[in-house]
Amino acid sequence: MKKIKYVILALFLSLQVCGICLGDDNIKDFNILSQMAGFLKEKAVINSDSVNKDLDYGAIKGMTYVLDRHTNFFTPEESKRFEEQMQGFYAGIGTTVQMRNDMLTIISPFKNGPAEKAGLKDDDRIIKINGESTKDMKLDDAVKRLRGKVGTTVAVTILREYPEEKTFEVSIERGQVEIDTVYTYVFDNIGYILLTQFSRDSGVELQRALSKLQKETIKGVILDLRNNPGGDLSTAVQVVSSFVQSGNIVVSTEGRNVLENQSYKSFTTPVTCNLPLVVLINGNSASASELASGAFQDYGRAVILGETSFGKASVQRVYPLNDGSAIKITGAHYFTPKHRLIHEIGIKPDIDEKKGPVFDRLINDLTFKECFLKYARAYIQKYPEIKENELKITDAIIGDFASFSTKNGVLVTESDIKQKKDMLSKYLKAEIARIAFGYDISKKVMTEADEEVKHAEELINAMEVIKSFTTAPVENIK
């Protein structure tokens, strides 16, 4: 009986899907699945009302385990949610939140996002969401409650501790947020551009930043793609186009489905083909970041500095199954202009360097117990008129901060001061800058003290000397 059922099923499938079909032998190969199902139902503790469905789905999931991490199975509910997410039905209130000092705390609400528009600020505590206390709520659960469909509202009760303590309730309309993805600073005549992800508008924003930089006399550009998870393919092409002459292949895709075979060329944009360029990558630079770095590397357009990138450069397509469930399948791989496979290999930097943020227990405690924050607030109350260029962290301040923190429950010893002076000074300066001048300046302070950025600056200065490296015209690579 079972065999007949499978043969019928196979016939049905071969009519439905044009492509290769599973032969009779092939179906027999999978008879063991029924055996397994019977065995599990007899022996295992089963806490489900829909065990047959679970086993059917489980078998699909199991196949994805032996493939790659981007080939996934979606149950009907997951499939629906995935589609909604892709179409942007779901949104939050436009802010990052963190559990700090056991309280749900707002961190840098996005510019013009719902939270900022509703008047919420950095370090505000969300003590209730829709009347429900956030005390003892897990971070994930809090985020789930803050998120919802675009246009719906969520009521939050806010505790603000600074400059005076007050509690108030606001209602926030959830909406899609355009996150700033490009940050630009100039350090010693070198332009620094941080690209946090390749969103739809990042390419245009990057070009705006570049033309602004070019009005100043800069020696070169550092493009920071560290921790950039990727994004739109077209944005990646645009970013590369900003530095490479038009008509060059940026990336191509190849798969078994003819639809998957495509190549993308750089297009005409205001280009800066000659400006020395250093691209920073790390193990979290993925997808579009890797395509861009790969193209720059193949054309010799930039020095790639950092650590080998993540190695995610594949294309997925979602195929619906019968009952609303679906399978997302990796159908193609990206290739660099020189036809290098990026997937699972990553982009190897021209110059290795790993000095990224190392986790430090003391810094974690000082952040978590909010010693930096409390000290920065007290400092600004003492020196309300301080200017950005006057802000210096002296040994006396570090000493004062150490005894302040020790009083506030985080022991900072003499040897901590000796060993971690630079780190303490960096974090303290950034926090004071944040309270006094806002998030952007604080980020600049952190970037300025970044070892890899310093290294990139050295490289650009070196390129000044070895001009020939980048002033040669970029050639077409076939």
């Binding site: 059922k5 499978y6 099923l9 196979a10 499938l13 439905q16 899907v17 492509g19 290769i20 599973l22 190969d29 999978f30 063991i32 699945l33 029924s34 055996q35 397994m36 199902a37 065995f39 599990l40 007899e42 022996k43 295992a44 503790v45 089963i46 065990v51 047959n52 469905k53 679970d54 086993l55 059917d56 489980g58 078998a59 699909i60 999931k61 199991g62 196949m63 994805t64 385990y65 032996v66 493939l67 080939t71 996934n72 559990m99 700090r100 798969g255 078994r256 594949s314 195929y319 199954l321 019968n322 009952d323 399978i327 399948i329 990796t330 193609a332 986790f359 974690n364 952040t367 978590f368």
Partner: protein
């Protein structure tokens, strides 16, 4: 069915009033359970349809047609993946191997000495530390029960990773260093630990304090410790110890036979140690067989904590329920699945939860845990520094045994 649940060994703690009443209720409860079992059995027979794998075959077709690398979608490969997926769909704690692969795993479990000392479970789809072996690299690094896994060696955890895979992480004859990143409640950022595998002593620790109190710590409750255990207990017997402290803190590996063997010295023959409720909701008792030396009259204190998991929890439940020992420490979490290794045909092996342990009184332990009689919580600092001579819980236990001695002389 065995209704005889009270110990014949004399309780050295006071029997509370109302115990007889409780016994009556328990009898009624048992009859009720019998009726329920009968009901369940009839219900089970009703749902016996077979899955038809409709969605599976469609997904298989798509993968074979469109997956980027044709070699990776070869039928045998996908089939093995599918079989493992089925086991994990039914039991997230389960596992699946081809027999030849299982032989390697078995060898790794039994004969490889070096490890990092973490035991894992799954909670809310996260891999969670359920116990940290004492004296292990993980314990020295400060990894705690409840830590949730974020990354292994800088990489996300792959889907399809099994609890067995994680338990064997770092179990290798070579020197291996592993970096683990965890989420921890109340930590702002994930915590990273670098661990180097090493040989952890699995020997039974036995010690006699001056005032005639014996201290016994089995690091695990597996068959390999039986002779050590007997030697230690004989030694106590020869030295005529007045009372014994059994330390089950952070003990998580074990099998029911060995737990029963240990109980054999402290309980009368024929008592029920615990019960097992299987997949068909049938309940079967595990009875204690007497073992020499006979220490049934010796007062006991048992130390437990959140790292006392599985079979050691079952053993602690017997000491507690029969009031055979005073339990001190912190509550256990209640993870008492009975996992079995089963053969599917000749070539395949699965590991799956086939039941849960209940207390002798058929109380649920799973998800509930065992509460200590006297709650003494240790801090992480205590943990790292303590030794047999300098350990708050042992001190507390000695004090209580001293009080008990005076109480009994009265």
């Amino acid at each position: 069915m065995n209704f005889f649940l009270m110990p014949t060994a004399k309780c050295w703690l006071l029997v509370k009033k109302g115990e007889n009443m409780k016994r009556m209720y328990r009898m009624k409860g048992n009859v009720l359970i019998l009726v329920l079992i009968a009901l369940c059995l009839t219900l089970c027979k009703v749902k016996a349809e077979e899955p038809d794998f409709t969605e599976f075959f469609k997904a298989l077709e798509y993968l074979k047609t469109y997956y980027v690398d044709p070699q990776k979608v070869e039928s045998n490969r996908l089939k093995e993946g599918a079989l493992k997926g089925m086991v994990l769909a039914v039991d997230p704690l389960g596992d699946y191997w081809l027999k030849k692969d299982y032989e390697l795993v078995k060898r790794q479990i039994n004969s490889v000495q070096k490890e990092i000392g973490i035991r894992w479970t799954i909670r809310d789809k996260m891999y969670v530390v359920k116990s940290v072996l004492e004296g292990s690299p993980a314990a020295f690094a400060g990894i705690q029960v409840g830590d949730m896994l974020a990354e292994i060696n800088g990489k996300d955890v792959l889907p399809g990773m099994t609890v067995t895979n994680l338990n064997l992480l770092g179990k290798d004859d070579r020197d291996i260093s592993i970096s683990l990143k965890f989420y921890r409640k109340n930590a702002t950022e994930p915590l990273e630990f670098n661990l180097q595998n090493k040989t952890i002593s699995r020997k039974v620790v036995a010690y006699t304090f001056e005032n005639g109190i014996g201290y016994l710590k089995p690091v695990e409750l597996t068959a390999g410790i039986k002779s050590d255990l007997t030697n230690a207990l004989r030694n106590f017997n020869d030295k005529k110890v007045q009372s014994i402290i059994i330390d089950l803190r952070n003990v998580c590996d074990g099998d029911i036979d060995t737990a029963d063997y240990l109980a054999g010295s402290f309980f009368q023959n024929g008592l029920v140690l615990a019960k097992v409720q299987d997949a068909a909701k049938q309940i079967k008792p595990v009875t204690i067989k007497s073992v020499e030396p006979n220490l049934t009259q010796i007062p006991l204190v048992v130390l437990i904590n959140e790292g006392t998991v599985g079979i050691p929890e079952v053993l602690a439940s017997a000491f507690s329920e029969y009031k055979r020992a005073l339990l001190i420490g912190s509550p256990t979490v209640g993870l008492v699945e009975r996992q079995e290794i089963l053969n599917l045909g000749e070539d395949r092996v699965i590991n799956v939860t086939t039941g849960y342990y209940l207390t002798a009184n058929e109380k649920q332990i799973q998800g509930k845990g065992i509460a200590p009689d006297d709650k003494v919580v240790e801090t992480v600092q205590d943990y790292a520094k303590r030794s047999i001579e300098n350990d708050n819980l042992i001190k507390k236990a000695k004090e209580l045994l001293e009080v008990a001695k005076i109480w009994r002389m009265r």
